[in-house]
């Protein structure tokens, strides 16, 4: 099992958000995690990537057999965890190319692989750019600063393509995208699917799953996985709303 989460409980500012979550993700699998707003989807994504401000109060998170909870964010990244942010952060003055090269080489170094020189890096990044249909100009600009919403999301997928993670977590990557952008971003993700790379799609809507076919769909509600199934579950949710699960109206 690549990722194994057992009975995970976590708090933010004293408020319990995850209340005993279980999730198993095998190599090469694509899992979609759906749920109403406030159900804990983004919290789960952030906890996996190691963001400060979340207190894990119980349970375990194993990544290829190793506990993640004590690891720094960069250590997790080097081990192959990648989070595509829902709101990619702007870094004024930090050149995008420079940033990408620094990130790639830092990870390579941590894994004991040789660092890429500028020539090799540029060749590599050009390949990856084509893959996500991104304007090369965006490489010259500061990271995400002044990017449109779609450009920011594409930049996230570009990073994913470049860094070749083992486990990619896409946090609401579809939010704020029009159909064209959604399609480009999805194509990028699909191109990266491989037997040894797993993907967790965190999303509120079924729409994304038309473009990226999941192997499993989980519904997160009230801090727990309340239902799991195949992609048929997503269709059912689409038709009936989240209220169908709890017997109430959709919380969103």
């Amino acid at each position: 099992m690549m990722l194994s989460i057992k009975n995970l409980k976590a708090e933010v500012e004293g408020k319990e958000i995850l209340k005993g979550l279980d999730l198993q993700v095998g190599a090469g699998e694509v899992h979609a995690i759906m749920g109403p707003n406030g159900s804990g989807k983004s919290t789960l994504a952030h906890i996996l990537a190691g963001r400060d401000g979340y207190a894990v109060t119980a349970g375990e998170v194993l990544f290829n057999g190793e506990s993640l909870i004590e690891l720094a964010p960069e250590e997790r990244a080097s081990r192959g965890i990648f989070l595509a942010f829902q709101y990619p952060v702007e870094l004024p003055g930090v050149n995008n190319t420079h940033f990408l090269k620094e990130a790639l080489n830092a990870q390579r170094k941590a894994r004991g692989e040789p660092e890429l020189d500028s020539v090799a890096f540029l060749k590599l990044i050009r390949e990856k750019l084509a893959m996500v249909s991104m304007q090369p100009e965006l490489l010259k600009r500061p990271v995400n600063a002044g990017f449109s919403g779609g450009e920011k999301k594409r930049n996230e997928i570009l990073q994913m393509a470049l860094l070749e993670p083992k486990l990619a977590i896409l946090d609401e990557t579809d939010s704020g995208l029009d159909i064209d952008a959604l399609k480009t971003v999805s194509d990028g993700v699909n191109a990266l699917r491989s037997p040894d790379r797993s993907v967790i799609l965190v999303t509120h809507y079924q729409r994304l799953l038309d473009y990226i076919q999941p192997d499993f769909v989980h519904v997160l509600a009230g801090g727990k996985i309340v239902r799991s199934g195949d992609k048929g579950l997503a269709k059912e949710l689409e038709a009936k709303g989240y209220g169908w699960l709890s017997g109430q109206d959709e919380a969103a």
Binding site: R51, E74, A77, L91, G93, E102, A103, Q159
Partner: protein, 481 residues
């Protein structure tokens, strides 16, 4: 312990790289200041009588002045009678070529990474090196002379180009300007004189390295750059000093004169000894720098990277007298440990269509204290003048401080002034974002700080942008490694 505290502690613990003392025989006069000392300095430098008169006039004026108290820097009262006002390497006071320079001195400069020997020089950079009070060697003299450029020590200028010196010395910063400028005018020891004739584009970057070596000495250099009509020059100064327990005084004066269509770019990478972790020792860097855009369409640009000194007190300024003249000020100042900096600029718009840009980036860590203090004045006849000012402060750790004190005075309705300032710490989300991509926390801090300063580094001559970036990384080391 929070990560920020950890970084700051590491920062504070970092040592000073240029803290060595050169073992060299030095000719130092006894501490103290009176008219005899001034006569001695003048005599040792074989100056013309008028220079002595200038010094004495300044000294008499200085006696009636009191040290400035308005800035936000704090230091014990300086006893000006405990400072020695002249120190020179003993051997061979007159130097004709590099062969005659004390090899120990050359090794010092090598240690500092200064390309003093011509064959090792960075291509296109001419260097004047000032060691304590004396200018030691000027490289590339012949290439410059061929272009008609004068690049020599100020003492030499007093002997060789007295008419030029007499015309411009004190014409931008009068000896009555302020306490430290008056002191400098009385006791200035050496410094650099640059003269670019009409229409000449200086064929290389000019550079001066200053180093204070002897104990209990002050350094009072004076720099004068005159750019005649249509000429261009780019000048860089770098500064270091050995590690000592006492505070040493550095009170320099820099005067720039730009005639019609002339451009002067003046860059400073200041890395004087900042004192130890307890705040003991370090250089008091009290400097008066002013540029006079006398002619139409002239341009003076100040770029400074200030990482050293226990206290920095300087406001490189522009008098924009010529119509369409341009003044610029780009600054990065880092204060950590117990460093204090009160720095900024004055842009005095007198001519029509004058433009000025101020970009100031302050980084304060540990117990560092920093203030931006600036004046933008639009005089009544400064028709259509423009100023844009951006002051950003970055705070690292909860014991540092950053202040912004801009003064804006506008007397012309067609003038436009825009001032913006922000103060914040490095964003947790920025740090996390970088770390989630595999960068260590220290690398992430360095990356973000470098991005924060990017605008300024872009203004430095290329050879030195790299050096400045390195210096910043070293200054933040601890936050970085």
């Amino acid at each position: 312990m929070s990560s920020t505290t950890k970084q700051v502690d590491a920062l504070v613990e970092r040592g000073y790289e240029h803290g060595f003392v050169t073992d060299i025989e030095t000719d130092v006069i006894a501490p103290g200041l009176d008219e005899d000392v001034i006569r001695f300095i003048s005599q040792r430098k074989q100056e013309p009588e008028w220079v002595l008169e200038y010094r004495l006039k300044a000294f008499r004026h200085w006696l009636g002045m009191t040290p400035p108290e308005w800035s936000s820097v704090h230091h014990p009262q300086i006893d000006f009678q405990t400072i020695s006002y002249f120190a020179a390497p003993k051997k061979k006071p007159v130097l004709e070529s590099l062969d005659q320079v004390d090899p120990e001195l050359l090794r010092t400069y090598e240690k500092l990474g200064i390309p003093l020997e011509e064959q090792k020089a960075l291509s296109g950079v001419a260097v004047d090196a000032v060691f304590d009070s004396v200018s030691v060697a000027t490289t590339f003299r012949k290439n410059l002379a061929d272009a008609g450029v004068i690049f020599c020590s100020i003492s030499e200028a007093a002997r060789e180009h007295p008419a030029l010196l007499r015309e411009y010395l004190g014409s931008v910063v009068p000896h009555t300007d302020n306490f430290y400028a008056a002191l400098n005018a009385a006791v200035f020891t050496d410094g650099t004189f640059v003269y670019i004739p009409k229409g000449v584009r200086c064929p290389m970057e000019l550079s001066t390295y200053f180093r204070i070596n002897a104990q209990n000495t002050g350094q009072f250099e004076r720099t004068l750059i005159v750019a005649e009509e249509g000429s261009h020059v780019s000048y860089l100064e770098g500064c270091t000093a050995p590690q000592r327990d006492e505070n040493q005084l550095h009170a320099a004066v820099v005067e720039l004169v730009a005639m019609q269509d002339a451009q002067i770019k003046y860059s400073t990478v200041q890395n004087w000894y900042p004192g130890d972790a307890q705040g003991k020792g370090g250089i008091y860097n009290f400097v008066t720098k002013r540029g006079d855009c006398r002619g139409a369409r002239s341009k003076i640009s100040w770029t400074q990277v200030e990482t050293g000194s226990a206290i920095t007190w300087k406001y490189p300024s522009c008098l924009l007298r010529g119509d369409d003249s341009v003044g610029e000020f780009y600054s990065v100042a880092v204060t950590k440990g117990h460093q204090q900096a009160d720095t900024g600029t004055k842009m005095i718009h007198l001519g029509r269509n004058t433009r000025s840009t101020i970009v100031s980036k302050g980084i304060s860590a540990g117990d560092g204290q920093q203030a931006y203090r600036g004046l933008v004045r639009m005089a009544q006849r400064a028709e259509n003048a423009r100023n844009h000012t951006q002051c950003d402060s970055l705070l690292i750790g909860d014991r540092c401080a950053a202040h912004t004190f801009p003064y804006i005075e506008v007397k012309n309705p067609t003038a436009k002034v825009e001032h913006e300032a922000t103060t914040s710490k490095i964003g947790d989300d920025q740090l996390f974002y970088c770390r989630s991509r595999g960068l260590s926390e220290e690398d992430a801090v360095s990356l973000i700080v470098n991005g924060f300063c990017k605008e300024i580094f872009n203004e430095l001559p290329m050879e030195f942008a790299v050096e400045a970036q390195k210096l910043l990384a070293i200054s933040l080391e601890g936050a970085v490694g």
